[in-house]
Symmetry: C2
Subunit: 587 residues, 2 copies
């Protein structure tokens, strides 16, 4: 037996016991004839004392311990004279009687401390050492607890977790697939699933009724900051339900998680905001509702006063940054620069301060009388001390998105985006389609199986772009943590949908034939949703990136720098797969 | 709302209630002016009554329902006059007031009944219909409950479930990898993990202390009857433990599962059988202990009496088939043919019956006196009515394996392999290495990280073939459901192991460098095991194949015939991956 107790377990009530601990050397301090070693494991840190007077050989051995050595220590628990209230084991220490080095360690390339001196690249290469650090390990513990609670909740609601295959067929529609050559079927490939969407729909056809799976999904996309080629979904589907049934059940799950994981009891129902409102008031389909600062449209107030920028605009909108009238010219210039960055793309920004006496002072005073500015103040519901920020543009949606970025930045600057505060909502009534400039056709906003709103079905023939879908996203703090829809279970409606999306019947059959065939044998009404587990864990952990809640993440080139994967294959492996490499230049 | 209740829920106490059910039409029977429809969902079957006198139009609609139509029925619950005690809802029926066809169905290609008329191929192609059948769906429900209980148990023991990556590096050692071309790193490939073995060892280096994961693994092997290219492991690892700690904890898990899933309380500890004994007494490293029929070695008794087959044999062993003396000549000939099949490869079989008077009558009477045959009877502990079956051969291990097949076949014929009886044991003390004729070198029997028994370490230099490992398998009813080992955490010992296995230091570094480097920074003593979930579920479900406990399995050519995967790629996809196909002939 390697240990009687963990390093996080002993308390004052254990004083006098003979114990054996095992763990890593966090630090060793020599103070006169005494040597103190802190021994760490996943559960905590315990102080071990070596007394030169009591056992000189043992103390000498302790003095030779290096950081991250793995040791086993036997001794007696005693009360400490100088206690450390910050450490749960801080009331006691172990008087060492035996010390065994189970494994030495080279000096680690960065410090194993909560705040480490290691840079990102080094920590990724030595991820196994980075995971020893409390903040990183805690993220994995949180992830474990979240998945346990998700399973507990869904199991209690009659959901069955069913594993769907990882080696499936490739569907060129949508994002790019990772593919897997089949040796037994030369020239043919499997694909790794982007999601188990069609398989879970088949499970509904099977009568499984309530399905879930916490499952790896894969997308071969050019990686952005917060994307990983493999990611984890909480994937769910139900039969004989309507949109409200899905939303109510999964709102219940969210509340369960908030309570169990974060200790936050949410009693109010989540807001359900139509997509059109989300775009109108927040310029985003995932508004951050931790703070207000809703958009006010100012076309009526500000047009027709000779300021050509506004007079020619298709959209003018403002936000009220409460109490920010004290912003300096320099801060305002920086904000203007912020919205003019190419990623955001605004042409400029107009601001107006409400002064202590109620007068409004704006950056476009020469065009607007105080009377109009007072109308602006009233429209913005602004008070003395407030700062009004206004953007305009010739494309309504684009300008709203720019104003959204400004709103989020102001929320950040004013400290309104507290990571320990959570604002949840459902965004509903998404449009069924969106126009693709690239493809010059309507594309499914969600996916081709999404059910249109019953009352909008007649518009499929006359005005498909205005059709809304039975689709819904769950948004927390401006992050889309999950989304789903009611699916089409009617073969005729599905055929019409493929037609609108520009699929020939042959192409639809080729790509989704197995699903359409299945639907001929009694498909129940069904729908569901999928959560991005990595994002949700990050949100609960207060992380800026999903990377730190993943044990072994990949970098922005899709590389695992610790494993050094991907890598070149043995030529024999390629031969067996009937594959040859082509020089990238030849592409 | 589609339903007030499921089809498995209503009881006599619900009589008088107005309810709405939704589900599939199992069957429709017309009896005079009444039409009875059985409506099925995952939860059960409820009888619905349509009365022509009461509502002729509704009854006419019901008469048009086909099998597997999806319907919604509203009506009143009433007590049945002729109850069906076999059906939990058999005390009641629904008097239909409304009927809505939610989706019609084509006639399914096979009957959706417990005993279907569909052949294997058809059921695989229409797997979504096969899953509607109770016996198949129940396997998935069992699988769900098993994984829930595994997680509950391991969570209660402080294990963290941590997801390891699916896109890793390829290791040519061992079975063949499935590989995944990387578009972002042209010419390079990821591999899908054969198991998270090295990653879980890195997690131990990280101080995770107790890890588990229920995880998909992949092996590109030529498929045998009971193999799938993707399969699921319950993968576990622990630090600061010895073999007994691992065995005790996971024996606890097995007992927990037996109790929760099968209602079987096992109070006795599992037998721990050394590998050498398993081979000696059962000719197998996974003996089926549901029945005795242990091997008895008969060299002393049967050699030297002029029967050249035995006189020249390196091994003679017998089993006692209790009470089988009544086997006819025809049955015995069939047994002889059975062991002579090429898959088993015995040269012949000798039998001896113990007759009612105690005399022994054998197939080689001309070589053996009754006196010797009585010695045989005594050695075999045989009584009147018993049948002794004997094999011999010039290779001890090969003959034992043949005798093992005979033993299992006799167990089957005598009804001793009851699927509802379970015999669990640990096989321990496996050899460290096995000789590979193909590679002409010692190979790791488990894997290269397996720790040798401390007392056998000196033999690594002198007699490596005799070294035993700290490796263990859990066996139930002759099936290896799991196995594992204590791992090497000492860099010098690991280097010696690679040397014995014929790795140059360079090759070891190339393939396992990341692990060996990690071990330089304080690896704790650790070990673990992995269970084959598919096999364990099959065993609990009493299935002959793992296929029926997998929602969407692949066939023996690695194809998913429902999805028609793998398939040819769009040439654009190959171009993007910098790959070209090579004709199989050119291999």
């Amino acid at each position: 037996m390697y240990r009687t107790n963990t390093c996080g377990e002993l308390r004052l009530s254990d004083a006098g016991k003979d114990v054996t601990l095992a763990g890593w050397v966090q630090r060793v301090r020599k103070m006169g004839g005494m040597t103190f070693a802190d021994i760490r494991d996943r559960y905590g840190i315990t102080q071990v004392v070596f007394d030169n007077d009591h056992n000189a050989a043992l103390t000498e051995a302790a003095n030779k311990l290096g950081r991250e050595f793995v040791v086993q220590v036997t001794g007696k628990v005693q009360e400490r004279t100088s206690k450390n209230p910050k450490n749960p084991t801080g009331d006691i220490e172990i008087i060492a009687e035996e010390l065994k080095v189970l494994n030495p360690s080279e000096v680690p390339p960065f410090t194993i401390e909560d705040d480490t001196d290691g840079g990102d690249d080094l920590r990724m290469k030595y991820r196994y050492l980075d995971l020893r650090r409390n903040p990183v390990r805690r993220n994995l513990e949180l992830r474990h607890r979240m998945t346990m609670e998700v399973r507990r909740y869904l199991d209690s609601k009659g959901f069955l977790e069913i594993e769907t295959p990882m080696l499936v067929g490739s569907t060129p529609e949508g994002a790019r697939d990772f593919v897997v050559p089949s040796r037994m079927n030369p020239g043919q490939f499997y694909a790794l699933p982007q999601s188990p969407q069609t398989l879970k729909q088949l499970l509904m056809v099977s009568g499984i009724d309530r399905y879930f799976q916490i499952v790896k999904c894969f997308r071969d996309e050019d990686l952005r900051a917060d994307r990983q080629p493999e990611f984890t979904q909480i994937d769910c589907e139900m039969s004989f339900i309507e949109q409200d049934d899905v939303i109510n059940l999964f709102e219940g799950m969210a509340k369960h998680l908030f309570k169990e994981i974060r200790g936050i009891e949410i009693t109010e129902p989540f807001i359900r905001m139509p997509w059109a409102d989300a775009m109108k008031y927040y310029g985003s389909d995932k508004p951050d509702l931790r703070f207000d600062m809703r958009f006010v449209e100012l076309m009526d107030v500000l047009k027709g006063h000779g300021f050509s920028v506004f007079d020619n605009a298709a959209y003018i909108g403002g936000i009220n940054a409460k109490g920010a009238a004290g912003y300096t010219r320099k801060q305002l210039d920086a904000l203007t620069e912020y919205v003019k960055r190419p990623q955001i793309g605004a042409k400029g920004m107009v601001y107006a301060r409400v002064e202590a006496d109620g007068n409004v002072k704006s950056s476009v005073d020469k065009f607007y009388s105080q009377e109009v500015l007072q109308q602006l103040k009233a429209a913005m519901n602004a008070e003395p001390g407030d700062l009004i920020l206004i953007l305009s543009g010739d494309d309504v949606m684009r300008t709203r998105k720019q104003l959204c970025e400004l709103r989020l930045e102001m929320g950040r600057q004013l400290g309104l985006r507290d990571k320990d505060k959570f604002a949840c909502l459902w965004v509903v009534d998404f449009p069924m389609f969106e126009w693709s400039d690239e493809e010059q056709r309507l594309m499914a906003m969600h996916h081709p199986f999404t059910h249109p709103k019953d009352e909008d079905i007649p518009m499929l023939d006359t005005d498909p772009a205005s059709v809304r879908a039975d689709a819904y996203d769950m948004v927390i703090n401006g992050v889309e943590v999950g989304g789903g829809s009611i699916r089409i279970h009617d073969a005729a409606l599905q055929a019409k949908m493929f037609e609108i999306l520009g699929f020939t019947p042959e192409k639809a059959q080729e790509q989704f034939g197995f699903l359409m065939n299945a639907f001929k044998f009694g498909a129940p009404p069904h729908g569901g949703l999928a959560y991005g587990l990595d994002r949700w864990v990050s949100l609960f952990a207060g992380l800026d990136s999903i990377r730190d809640c993943i044990a072994f993440p990949k970098n922005n080139s899709g590389r695992d720098v610790m494993l050094d994967a991907p890598a070149h294959l043995d030529p024999k492996q390629l031969d067996e797969l009937c594959l040859a490499l082509v020089e990238p230049q030849k592409k």
